[in-house]
């Protein structure tokens, strides 16, 4: 196929060619970035919590005085454990995707604002909670009975804790975190173990790197550890068990108030937490599909015009011996050239758009492999769109050459 005559013909339609190429360039830029955004959001939704989500639920009550905490805890634990199908009930202060209870900045130095590690979530938990959560220990040891300390402040004053692998790698890169110390103002902590994954309460708000900066803090009930209960049941039983538990609160502790919104299965909390991301994904996919549709229609429209306009020339070419295949390939090549031009410009635009998004939305850099994928999609789209008009062109009989338009 000779390209030269096609280029010569396109030069006669400079403006139209330029417009369609611009449209494809913009489409390429939006396509690459929108796909990238979809993938980013998808990764967010897939955030690992590190706990047995399908078997866990949380139940929160409030509206009691600190002096009543011990009594409320005792009544709630006994009452909830009596529910048929309930496998375990333990105290915890927060769960992944629920309300955040205790986030605080920590540092490697005592009493210092220097050498800071970052802001982490302190998860306070009574004996047994580690197993109920289903956390996976990868290094160090599990908490023993005498590791559990009372939390007179928002956390125990001096405690042995477990950290997530992500936090360990951030705070002590390349070293074993076991035995390492850290401080939060006057509170002192020592690492005794590392868990594989453990998401903080609001992972997406802290960014991908800090999504699992969590400290599992063995704590005795009372003080800051009251009113939030972790429930475990078999996945099939869980919705019923949670419903029964919510209804039972009025009988177990008539003076407290059930927090309806935050007494949910972890799965429901997760769905709720990532709702806006799911909406955004739907929207982005909608934009991508409509945009590709509009672009395809533009190509169809323009190609149809050109086919109609060139009917006579096509007839002449056919009369001079060009086959239907030649005509078909002519329009396909023409489209390929225009789309290629658009894609080249589009790649530059895609990176420019990505740069703009990076400065405004803390987005990572667009990986290079998005460009060839975007190019392939647009080439495919162009070829599909031009096929109809091109077939119509190929069907023009040679006899047209002898007739005036």
């Amino acid at each position: 196929m000779q390209i030269r005559p096609i280029l010569a013909a396109l030069r006669r339609h400079r403006l139209a060619t330029l417009l369609i190429a611009m449209e494809i360039a913009l489409a390429c830029a939006v396509l690459c970035n929108a796909c990238f955004l979809v993938v980013q959001r998808w990764k967010l939704i897939q955030t690992q919590s590190g706990v047995d989500e399908n078997s866990l639920a949380v139940l929160t009550v409030n509206g009691f005085e600190p002096t009543q905490a011990a009594d409320v805890n005792a009544r709630m634990l006994v009452g909830l454990r009596a529910i048929p199908g309930m496998q375990a009930v333990t105290l915890i202060n927060q769960v992944p995707f629920g309300p955040q209870a205790g986030a605080a900045g920590i540092s490697r130095d005592a009493d210092s604002f220097k050498n800071t590690i970052g802001v982490v979530d302190f998860v306070l938990a009574e004996p047994g909670t580690f197993q109920v959560l289903g956390l996976k220990l990868v290094e160090g040891r599990m908490p023993q009975a005498d590791d559990y300390r009372p939390a007179t402040n928002f956390a125990p004053m001096d405690a042995q804790v477990l950290v997530s692998r992500a936090l360990a790698e951030h705070a002590w890169p390349g070293e074993s975190p076991i035995g390492k110390e850290f401080w939060c103002d006057k509170l002192h902590f020592r690492v005794m173990g590392v868990v594989d994954h453990f998401a903080r309460a609001h992972p997406r708000e802290w960014g991908a790197q800090a999504a699992e900066w969590t400290v599992f803090t063995p704590t005795l009930p009372g003080g800051s550890l009251a009113g939030t209960y972790l429930l475990r049941a078999s996945p099939a039983d869980l919705p019923r068990v949670l419903r029964t538990a919510r209804d039972a609160v009025a009988k177990i502790a008539p003076d407290v108030v059930l927090d309806q919104e935050n007494s949910q299965t972890i799965t429901d909390l997760r769905t709720d937490y990532f709702k806006s991301d799911r909406i955004m994904i739907d929207l982005l996919i909608g934009v991508i599909v409509t945009m590709l549709g509009v672009t395809a229609l533009g190509i169809v429209g323009l190609a149809s015009f050109w086919v109609q306009q060139r009917r006579r020339q096509i007839g002449v070419r056919r009369a001079l011996g060009a086959t239907r295949g030649d005509i078909l390939r002519y329009f396909q090549t023409e489209n390929f050239l225009i789309v290629t031009g658009g894609i080249l410009l589009g790649m530059v635009l895609a990176f420019a758009l990505n740069l703009a998004l990076m400065t405004h939305y803390e987005l990572p850099r667009l990986p290079f492999y998005y460009l060839p994928i975007g190019a392939l999609v647009l080439w495919g789209l162009g070829q599909l769109a031009v096929l109809g008009p091109a077939l119509r062109a190929a069907a023009v009989p040679p006899v047209v050459a002898t007739r005036s338009v």
Partner: protein
């Protein structure tokens, strides 16, 4: 002449219905998408208290000591001492101390189970300052503030829930363990965004119970929550002497002169505290912003919404390129016809107007359908579980903007093709016939 051009345009559009439909659809979809998102952005960045937003100021100081190196802006709240010091100076025309906390509320005699509600602690000026509308009764007095009176104002929502919407002034409410007398009931009031509370979700509801600041310190002691602390308090829940920020202040200053003298006063206070060694940073971290400046600094429009607006604009651009390309091809295909008209004496201007009328008709149709799509788009936004969903509706300004944008963009899109068509050289075209 216009009627004739219109007739020609309609004939030409009818000749290829599918293509006309495609062009109209492309413009409509582009307009629909971009206007939906722009309407949402417009509504979300609206003035929550028009007429007064320029005289209400939000002073900020930075009590963090020692200050972190990466701490470049003061927190959107103050420690108790700074807030009360500034308040006690009475330098503003009106001023209000504000903080909010969760509290357990019961209505004796209604037989309803207790509720956990959000309570706003503030001072008497709050209500006139923010033009809070009352259904029954009124706010409390400065005397009540000073006397730590056990009084409360409740929201329309809570009044409906507890008392069926009846006049409940004079009835009593049990707030935690204290009985308070209801002195006022609000009309439905929902400033959007919720500007007076700097930590709230922008589009959340107002608090349900309003209690004098001094009284609430006693009633709900231990349940106040800090925005943040730079030293861990000895008792997490007793914040009055802690190194935590949790109280904020609003000042009404009627003239620019008063506003600048108030800003100086706050800066002097910060410098004085720095000299005393209580603050690490003095006037460099003093801000006295009015409502809109403060809201802009806080970032009112959610990132996702701004992202959607960007996407929709790019999408509109694609649709426009598409429309221009198609119109161009369409007009140039009629080069022969145009050549004949030119040869018969039509001026370039006449050809240009004729093409522009045709582009305008497509634009009007596209604008109309785009407007319908905007309505559908906003309806879809209202169905979403987002906190600003209730805001998504078309107001007159946006209705006009949508339509004008639609016609203007398509006229603009018609401009280049019409110009190109009017430059067709008649002689060549006649030869080709």
């Amino acid at each position: 002449m216009f009627a004739y051009y219109l007739d020609l345009a309609l004939r030409s559009l009818k000749r290829n219905k599918v293509l006309t439909a495609l062009m109209v659809l492309a413009i409509a979809v582009g307009i629909g998408a971009s206007m939906t998102t722009l309407t949402v952005v417009h509504l979300l960045s609206g003035d929550p208290i028009p007429g007064k937003s320029g005289v209400l100021f939000f002073p900020q100081v930075d009590p963090e000591n020692p200050a972190r190196a990466d701490h470049t802006e003061p927190y959107p709240a103050m420690d108790y001492r700074s807030a009360t010091d500034l308040w006690n100076a009475h330098r503003a025309d009106r001023q209000a101390l504000v903080t909010s906390s969760p509290v357990k509320v019961r209505a004796p005699g209604t037989g309803r189970p207790p509720l956990i509600l959000s309570m706003l602690s503030t001072t008497t000026d709050f209500f006139p300052m923010f033009e809070v509308p009352f259904q029954y009764g009124a706010g409390w007095s400065a005397q009540d503030d000073a006397n730590r009176a056990r009084v409360a104002v409740i929201s329309a929502d809570l009044n409906a829930k507890l008392f069926g919407g009846a006049n409940s002034v004079g009835r009593s409410l049990r707030v935690r363990d204290t009985d308070v007398r209801i002195v006022g009931v609000l009309k439905p009031w929902r400033p959007t965004p919720l500007f007076y509370d700097p930590w709230s979700q922008n589009f959340s509801k107002t608090e349900d119970v309003f209690v004098p600041f001094t009284s609430s310190m006693e009633i709900n002691e231990g349940n106040f929550q800090a925005y943040t602390c730079w030293h861990v308090p000895d008792d997490t829940h007793h914040l009055q002497n802690s190194d935590c920020v949790w109280v904020w202040l609003w000042a009404e200053l009627d003239s620019p002169a008063k506003a600048s003298s108030y800003a100086r006063f706050v800066a002097d206070y910060a410098e004085q505290q720095k000299a005393m060694g209580r603050f690490a940073i003095g006037k460099e971290h003093v801000r006295v912003r009015d409502v809109m400046t403060m809201l802009t600094a806080r970032g009112m429009v959610p990132d996702d919404v701004r992202l959607q607006a960007w996407l929709a604009s790019a999408f509109l651009a694609i649709c426009l390129f598409n429309a221009v390309g198609l119109l161009l091809a369409k007009f140039l295909r009629r080069s022969g016809e145009i050549g004949v008209r030119r040869a018969l004496g039509a001026s370039r201007r006449a050809i240009f107007s004729q093409c522009l009328v045709e582009a305008g008709v497509i634009g009007l149709l596209g604008g109309f359908f785009g407007w319908l799509l905007t309505l559908i788009g906003l309806w879809l936004v209202r169905q979403q579980p987002v906190d600003y969903a209730h805001l998504a509706h078309v107001d007159t300004a946006m209705f006009l903007t949508t339509f004008v944008t639609a016609v203007a963009t398509s006229l603009l899109a018609g401009l280049i093709p019409a110009l190109r068509a009017s430059r067709v050289v008649p002689a060549w075209q006649l030869k080709a016939l």
